[in-house]
Amino acid sequence: MTDSGVNVAPTVSFNSISMVFPDGTEALRDVSFSVDKGEFVTVVGPSGCGKSTLLKIASGLLHPSGGTVDIDREKLGYVFQDATLLQWRTVRQNVELLAELHSVDKDERARMSTDAIELVGLKGFEDHYPKSLSGGMKMRVSLARSLTLQPPVFLFDEPFGAVDEITREHLNEETLALFQREGFAGLFITHSISEAVFMSTRVLVMSARPGRIVAEYEVPFGYPRQPDLRFDPEFAKLSGQISASLRGAHS
């Protein structure tokens, strides 16, 4: 996983994935795409179209009814929609959780968590309990927790859906900075078109249930991206196109 550059095979690839739940709900139909190292791919789609299901299949929490996924699950980064922190652990202890589950020794763990906490800008809050953090800060702890294992693949399931717009934009910029620094392959889910365009190298549009990939857009901007990119005419045009195909996807 550290052999950056020599990696030719895609880091995640979905091959004709379909998913029918035991109750007969068909969530996904024939979904195929892949995410390479250094790519940040975002999936947008109407609510209930199967986006979370897709990530659960990628992570192995769910088994698809058809198709296969190629992915290295050993050190997967997965940021859920909720921060899912352990209330009885301080920020530092929460960030160290995954390293603990992977039996990383104490000193190494402390070093990892110090780095991760600093990266997400929570220095000084190491000994706080989640109950004294704001929603955005909790999300950052969750992000830091996933970072400790330096995952080569990062799955994000609408991680910033519950925070206000200003905080969300901040977190977007921080996540991009991490993406540049760590060079992981990112698969991101969101409802926000501007978030999708701002973050990604590629945006995929999913149809209403059963979810299929109905459109694909390359995002032409390089990194690092400045916050005022959001007001660029090119940005607005691309957002408009995605919005139009999303509306089509709804019906």
Binding site: Y78, F80, D82, A83, L86, R89, L101, Y129, P130, K131
Partner: protein, 300 residues
């Protein structure tokens, strides 16, 4: 019922809520205007004191106004109870001895309930099938009135100390099982997924996730059961009087001899024991979970 028990009743003192605010106070602590420490103390002490005075006044009213002199034995006035029950050293000594005997039964009973109840709940949390197999019997067991099985307990465990402990266990076991099980099962789905993703073993999941998550509920159960174990010890003592004399035996004796002052004194002392145990567990709970537990909200 469990959900309400999960949030301990009247647990928060003003001191504790001040604790909760400390992380936000960055500047040197300046006392809030108009709310000095003294004021806070008086806020929490004054109401119960006023109500206590009111109760005593009503008590006097019943003893002297409602009851005629020849029926006053039904409810002796407070100062009589004080004089005969507490101020009389010989009687007070007897009461203290009884209380000590019953407290011992209650503590042992509670200890057994805690170990047994927590273990059973952990066992049931490990597989739905175990829970389904055991739970109906626990409900049935706790639905049996103790009175109905008093003879059986006597046959099996004798008419002394052991049977008293058994009664204390039977009465205090159920809330511990129910609350612990509820706590163990209330961990967030997403956190469970996280542990699954990282291949956590059953034991790791229990140690690092479900057990700590259950602590507030577990302590809520302990507090309820602590009070119940005192009741159980006294009830047990009432029926199984062999050996040293506990509060139950004293109550029976005072009732037989119509010593209503002593009777009331015994009632007051035993409820004080219950309150003391309840408060002790509240304190312990605050020590263990107070720093992190958000009262009334499980969302993180």
């Amino acid at each position: 019922m469990t959900v309400e028990e999960h949030t301990p009743i009247g647990a928060r003192s003003d001191g504790a809520s001040a604790d909760f605010e400390t992380p936000f106070i960055m500047a040197p602590a300046v006392p809030k205007p108009g709310k000095s420490r003294l004021r806070l103390a008086s806020d929490s002490i004054l109401p119960p004191v006023v109500f206590g005075v009111f109760i005593i006044a009503v008590w006097y009213g019943i003893s002297y106004v409602v009851l005629d002199a020849d029926r006053r034995f039904l409810l002796r006035p407070p100062h009589d109870v004080w004089q005969k029950g507490f101020a009389d050293w010989e009687n007070f000594h007897e009461l203290l001895n009884g209380l000590q005997s019953s407290a011992k039964v209650a503590f042992i009973g509670l200890g057994i309930s805690i170990v047994l109840g927590t273990s059973l709940a952990i066992l049931m949390s490990q597989a739905k099938s175990i829970e389904r197999a055991l739970f109906p019997y626990m409900v049935t067991l706790q639905a049996i009135p103790v009175l109905a099985i008093v003879p059986l307990i006597g046959f099996w465990f004798g008419f002394g100390f052991k049977s008293r402990v058994v009664v204390a266990v039977i009465i205090s076991l159920f809330p511990i099982i129910v609350n612990t099980l509820f706590g163990l099962q209330s961990a967030d789905r997403g956190v469970h997924d996280l542990f699954t993703l990282h291949h956590a073993s059953r034991l790791t999941r229990l140690r690092k996730l479900t057990l700590p998550n259950a602590l507030p509920a577990i302590f809520a159960g302990f507090r309820i059961s602590a009070g119940l174990s005192v009741i159980g010890a006294i009830v047990g003592d009432f029926f199984f009087g062999k050996g040293d004399v506990g509060v139950g035996q004293l109550l029976r004796r005072y009732a037989n001899f119509l010593k209503s002052e002593q009777l009331l004194a015994a009632v007051i002392m035993s409820s004080l024991l219950g309150v003391a145990v309840f408060l002790a567990f509240g304190w312990l709970q605050e020590k263990v979970t107070g720093k992190w537990y958000e009262h009334g909200g499980g969302e993180v």
